[in-house]
Symmetry: C2
Subunit: 416 residues, 2 copies
Amino acid sequence: MQAEIITIGDEILIGQIVDTNSAFIGKILNSVGVSVYQITSIQDDRAHILKALSAAEANADIIIVTGGLGPTKDDITKHTICDYFNDHLVRNEAVTINIERLWRDYVKQPMQQVNLDQALMPSQSQVLMNTVGSAPGMWIEKNNKVFISLPGVPYEMKLLMENEVIPKLKNKYKRPSILHKTLITYGIGESMLAEKIEEWETNLPIFIKLAYLPNFGKVRLRLSAIGADLESITRAVDAEIQKVIPLIKTEYIGIEEEDGDLEVVIAKQLTKLGKTLALAESCTGGKIAELFTSHSGASAYFKGGVVTYATQSKIDILGVPEILITTHSVVSAEVAEVMAQKARVLYKSDFALSTTGNAGPAKGDSEAEVGTVFIALATENGVFSQKFELGSNRERVVNKSVNKALELLQKEIFKI
Amino acid sequence: MQAEIITIGDEILIGQIVDTNSAFIGKILNSVGVSVYQITSIQDDRAHILKALSAAEANADIIIVTGGLGPTKDDITKHTICDYFNDHLVRNEAVTINIERLWRDYVKQPMQQVNLDQALMPSQSQVLMNTVGSAPGMWIEKNNKVFISLPGVPYEMKLLMENEVIPKLKNKYKRPSILHKTLITYGIGESMLAEKIEEWETNLPIFIKLAYLPNFGKVRLRLSAIGADLESITRAVDAEIQKVIPLIKTEYIGIEEEDGDLEVVIAKQLTKLGKTLALAESCTGGKIAELFTSHSGASAYFKGGVVTYATQSKIDILGVPEILITTHSVVSAEVAEVMAQKARVLYKSDFALSTTGNAGPAKGDSEAEVGTVFIALATENGVFSQKFELGSNRERVVNKSVNKALELLQKEIFKI
């Protein structure tokens, strides 16, 4: 069972937006046994859309198209799909009622004819009702292939995938099972990791595929398997995981799909322990806070954090003694440690993480080299810090700092 | 001059990562007059790579491939490119020296044979030297087309695009100019906006293309033009912008490419005014702080922020009176306003923004409905707040809150 995803929009090709839709669709399709053969991003152009539909039809059983369904003139997907199927548009009553409801309850602005015209649907299509937006999804079957057209607005697309597309696909097709389990490791490069597990990798069963995913100081190892019976492939993958973990036990953190990414592993462990966390972020600028709060349930363990970006705010908000900053510089182990301790007291938390460093591009309030970062962790037993040299690329310094901070915390809370 | 981008990696197709590389490449190519016809994401599979290369060669003059150049067994791009060109690998001395330097200075772990083998290059290729990673880029010319292969690690790819690929492309091709100018508007839906500017849109010159980009309460209007002479297309686009701004003057914020996105517009204005900002974030969880600090130069105006996620931390850190919370609920105009005022005092800033709301999925510390958010802004003249009902989708509530907060601040600081 193979799918192709086509995302339509000049804004993708000129790099004005990042296409996040296809990652979401790929993941949810995999979860129900549908593989994605290819993702194609194309222009809002009639000829290009027709060409892409026909190319995808040759490869895949399921073709999912996003984008180009808005009410404005630059949105041409619906008319082009009509052309592809030699179809014509007819007004759909249920969609009309839905649009009128949305305008009455939410938009509260005068409705335009173009909004009502979003209820015009290809006559061969089944409506995928969009309860949160005016562009409905479409489901068209042809020669035992399914064409699905969805709006490009991510949260509308997601709701339609979850509530309409996936149930209908499950119903229509008998699908195999696809299993991905990804081991998260920290603190070792991919080639070193590969050497450690070389023999194990060589002896992997043929139906289990291994991939290395390096990213800012962590390397993820993904085992993928596909098979008719979920139980038997799970058993086989789990057996391999049990063999490999002892080979990488100092680097291994958890399994992404079961345990979540590192912040989720930490969140679960803190919640389980009944312990709480606070943050004092300087060079990471709120990114660690945002990471924890991007998952629901954070209020169980996350007390909050301060972003003390300016040196003066470290003094004013956290009460870092000015003399410490003058003596040791604002980017120093001493300042990082006091930041963590003060945040812990301020938030009455069990743990507090702090970051202070120079992310570049220019030297800031301190004389520290660009890329120098100190990360500290305060616990009920005291405080400790580590120094990192993370290079001169701003994005890399910030992201590596976030990963290193999480790693430090993870190692500490799993000792308990 | 047309390019195609091929991103290789199963992790993209299964939705384990979002492909951000192609957006970066699309943007930088446009900036030097190269259009992107299509972006194709494919599997780490020999047959699929060969097929994609051949399809891209038929459409484009420049084919840029990312990914699959790592040292581990799942990385097959280099060998497959060799097959595509009937080529063979030869060791490159300069790359070998670069890899040895990286290991000595940064990796500081034993080098493996697989690392040294990253210096094996197709004999027809020119090396694009990667000074920050062990996988070099490749540049291969064939029938007046250029094939470029780059590592998938985003910051390595970016450096190679900027320092190697773009200069070589500029040198090799005479290119037209591509101009995008995107007007940012807030507070109006796309169909209402379209109605307001309908006559203007209808009368746009044929070589200027208009697109509507709606996103969480803001709508961007992009004007795109392509032509031999940058000056004349700029003049034409600017003339149209001068015509449209009066039609949308209450919604218009600025031009994205010149002024940057809203947080950049705000950053510039605050810096210009010599004014500073602080934040007290609850439901946005640090996302506003992260947005401001993701751009360099934030220390000029950004004092910092507190993330007071737990109710108790609003009392402990910000000093919100407990009685106010008990009386009005933690999600209320009163609490939002005091949060902003307290943050302003704490950080000694000119402005302070606060958010408090329930992002869902479950009701949290307050009885407020999911989606109810209060945003307040404290200034030297006092404080005011606004209430928003942002629906039940967590991601949407958080993102809309961020946009609404920025909008509030923007309107205030541009009054000055």
